[in-house]
């Protein structure tokens, strides 16, 4: 085992250094900058997308019918002042119960609807309760209230205007939408990174086949070690990439105000720290699983042309796994979710999403063991196919497929 790891490390080291110390790697590392540049150019669009998240939010007014009607009318008037994309969340009217304060608190803490601010207490004792991310909505409610009451006082000549008392409350639990958003964000980021990075492994053996080093490697160490080493060499490159941009993003976030509050709203079910750790582990597992498949398939290719042809089915495979896992994330606990968590190649994505909504830790340990098993199985199969096909211990993989197809067609036409 030690020997295996040492030799895998020799190969991984070579691949890592050969990849990182090239001008092309700098291009690769900085590629996201191009994306950022375009995002800045399209900044307005981006903001619109960000704001559209508000559509799921609501603000609530707890008031008796007459006041409610006035507020509603004033809301219609004021709302007309805002352009559509930046309009405040829609207002819902509720009739007051026995304890409007408690009622308001319950509304904000409700997990299933995202209510960010509540106005209650009527004309004489107005209060605004709002969630940390609902400050703007609270401002809007305040202005709405003052305008409404002022208009009325002006009509009836006299009296002071009560200013609403504002209070912010921390949500004790994350909202469902927050959690699902965490799940989807994690899934999306994982998918994107894996898609970008694991696809590289498809051509990794092409180099050795081109410059004939493959026979040195194959003679000196078992092919499984070669595959494993190459996979980890590229994984190192991927990790470098991810930590570079992860570091930049973390630094950027720490400079922004309100990060804490925003993160609290997204609090995943198993806790933020474990979730982050799991996301990293699952990123690794997803990379290794898909990378092993692509490496094995790419190893069968005999030319760059074949490798290029392979990139399409590979992208489809990744999309399929993503679709599968995101369908699972949308329906936590369903049979579909279980299937996606069990199927090895969607498992890392599905399990990462599960971490957002399910507090149990043990399924993750089981899933990681399961995924490691599949990384090994994939590498073993890939190495065996490679030995048979490329080192010509037997007929080539694609050729046998071709032969099979031809024979199949031949027998049909006969």
């Amino acid at each position: 085992m030690m020997r295996f790891l040492r030799k895998a490390a020799v190969i991984a080291r070579r691949d890592f250094l050969a990849t990182v110390f090239t001008p092309a790697f700098l291009m690769f590392l900085l590629a996201p900058l191009f994306m950022l540049a375009f995002a800045t150019v399209g900044g307005t669009g981006a903001r619109m997308i960000a704001d559209s998240g508000d559509e799921s939010r609501t603000i609530v007014v707890i008031a008796d019918a007459p006041l409610a009607a006035q507020l509603d009318a004033e809301d219609s008037r004021m709302r007309a002042l805002f352009p559509e994309p930046v309009a405040p969340p829609p207002i819902e009217i509720r009739t007051p119960g026995r304890d409007p304060g408690a009622q308001a608190r319950a509304l904000i803490e409700n997990e299933s609807i995202e209510i960010v601010a509540v106005l209650f207490g009527g004309v004489d004792d107005p209060h605004i309760l709002f969630a940390p991310d609902g400050e703007r909505s609270a401002n809007y409610l305040g202005a709405l209230f003052e305008n409404t009451v002022e208009a009325e006082r002006a009509a009836s000549f006299g009296g002071a205007i009560a200013v609403p008392e504002r209070e912010t409350i921390q949500r004790s639990a994350a909202t469902i939408s927050g959690r699902q958003a965490t799940g989807f964000t994690a899934l999306f980021v994982l998918f994107l990174l894996t898609l970008l990075l694991a696809g590289q492994t498809v051509s990794v053996l092409a180099e050795e086949k081109g410059n004939k080093v493959i026979e040195i490697l194959a003679a000196a160490v078992p092919l499984e070690t070669v595959f494993f080493g190459k996979l980890f060499g590229l994984f190192g490159v991927a990790l470098l990439f991810v930590s570079f941009w992860g570091g930049i993003i973390a630094f950027g976030l720490s400079l922004m105000p309100d990060t804490g509050a925003a993160l609290a709203a997204l609090d995943p079910a198993i806790g933020f720290g474990p979730f982050l750790a799991l996301a990293i582990v699952y990123f690794g597992m997803g990379y290794l699983l898909l990378g092993a498949v692509f490496l094995a398939v790419g190893a069968q290719a005999t030319s760059m042309r074949e490798i290029q042809m392979l990139s399409l089915p590979i992208t489809f495979f990744q999309m399929a796994m993503f679709g599968f896992a995101s369908a699972a994330a949308a329906a936590p606990g369903s049979a579909l979710a279980t299937a996606a968590e069990l199927f090895p190649f969607s498992s890392p994505f599905a399990m990462a999403a599960r971490g957002a909504t399910d507090p149990a830790l043990w399924p993750h340990a089981a899933a990681i063991a399961w995924q490691i098993l599949w990384v090994s199985i994939t590498i073993a199969i890939g190495a065996r196919l490679f030995r048979k096909g490329v080192l010509k211990s037997g007929p080539s993989f694609f050729r046998s497929i071709g032969k099979y197809l031809r024979c199949g067609r031949g027998s049909k036409s006969a």
Binding site: V10, N211, E215, A219, A220, K392
Partner: protein, 314 residues
């Protein structure tokens, strides 16, 4: 007691599709010897070596390497120079040697140190820090050769090590092979250049068409053919050819033929009696070339030598 052979193989068979590329080849390489595998292009030399090393598995037959039937398990004690040369073009020469050593379990530091010494000895000291892509083909090949022996293996397998080298480097390579043998290593190499085999090998095997045609020492190989006589008559007459053995051919103003089974005496007596006389007579041991011709046919040998001529002049 006879030491265990470094390498032995019985009845190796390898099919590529329906074609039998290697057909029941037996090989036995004694420890500490230099062993050559000779054969024309496509004879199955490379395939045989790959099977012996466990890079590919034989379809039939059995092989044993350094005392084990699982050649891969003793990989760290084996050095191999493949026929298709290849190194990472971006690596520096000494790194490439250390890398190949590391693949065989040698630590990097020792590998680099030995690389410096070996490159110096091979006259490549100035290129130690050059990238492989900056070296000439022959230099790169030499670097690869050094890389395949840097871990001081017990068994060294070289596939066509001489091809692509100029005569100076061929000489250097011969010295290295002899030095490795003196260190205690067993060397197995394939070639189609007879000169090297003749000079270096303790034993050799001749393979053609996937079959082993001969196995034994160079002297034994020669002994499979009778001595060759070259006879110059004093009086060349019309009846002379009839008196000589059937295989006699005109050569250099005389005749060349194999020494007859019973010896030369009877024939010489006859020639003297008939008045043809003896202007010149020499008896020669058959060359490896002749042995080859007898074993694998004129045409094959000519092809092989054409190949090696092309190599030499290349």
């Amino acid at each position: 007691m006879q030491p265990a052979p470094a390498l032995s193989a019985n009845g190796l068979v390898k099919y590529f599709g329906d074609k039998r590329a290697v057909d029941h080849v037996d090989i036995l390489v004694p420890q500490g010897s230099i062993y050559g595998i000779l054969g024309p292009n496509g004879a199955g030399k490379t395939t045989t070596l790959r099977m012996l090393l466990g890079i590919i598995d034989p379809d039939e037959g059995h092989r044993e390497l350094l005392g084990t039937a699982r050649p891969r398990s003793v990989g760290d004690r084996v050095g191999y120079l493949p026929e298709e040369r290849g190194l990472y073009p971006g690596m520096k020469a000494r790194e490439a040697i250390a890398f190949m050593g590391a693949l065989r379990g040698l630590d990097w530091k020792t590998g680099r140190e030995r690389a410096d010494v070996m490159l110096e000895a091979a006259g490549l000291g100035a290129s130690a820090y050059e990238k492989i892509k900056k070296l000439s083909k022959g230099m790169a090949q030499f670097v690869q050769l050094l890389g395949s022996i840097v871990h001081r293996p017990d068994l060294i397998v070289l596939d066509e090590p001489f091809s692509g080298l100029d005569p100076v480097n061929q000489g250097r390579l011969e010295d290295i092979i002899l030095a490795e043998r003196d260190r205690g290593a067993t060397v197995l190499f394939s070639t189609h250049i007879m000169g090297h085999a003749e000079r270096l090998c303790d034993r050799l095997a001749i393979i053609a068409g996937g079959k082993r045609r001969y196995e034994g020492s160079v002297d034994e190989a020669r002994a499979t053919l009778p001595m060759q006589a070259h006879y110059e008559p004093r009086e060349d007459g019309g009846a002379l050819a009839a008196k000589l053995p059937a295989d006699a051919v005109r050569d250099n103003g005389g005749y060349r033929f194999a020494v007859p089974e019973g010896g030369m005496e009877a024939l010489l007596q006859q020639l003297l009696d008939s008045g043809h006389g003896i202007a010149g007579l020499s008896l020669e041991r058959p060359s490896l070339h002749d042995v080859f011709v007898a074993l694998v046919g004129e045409e094959t040998v000519e092809r092989m030598e054409a190949d090696s001529d092309a190599e030499q002049s290349a």
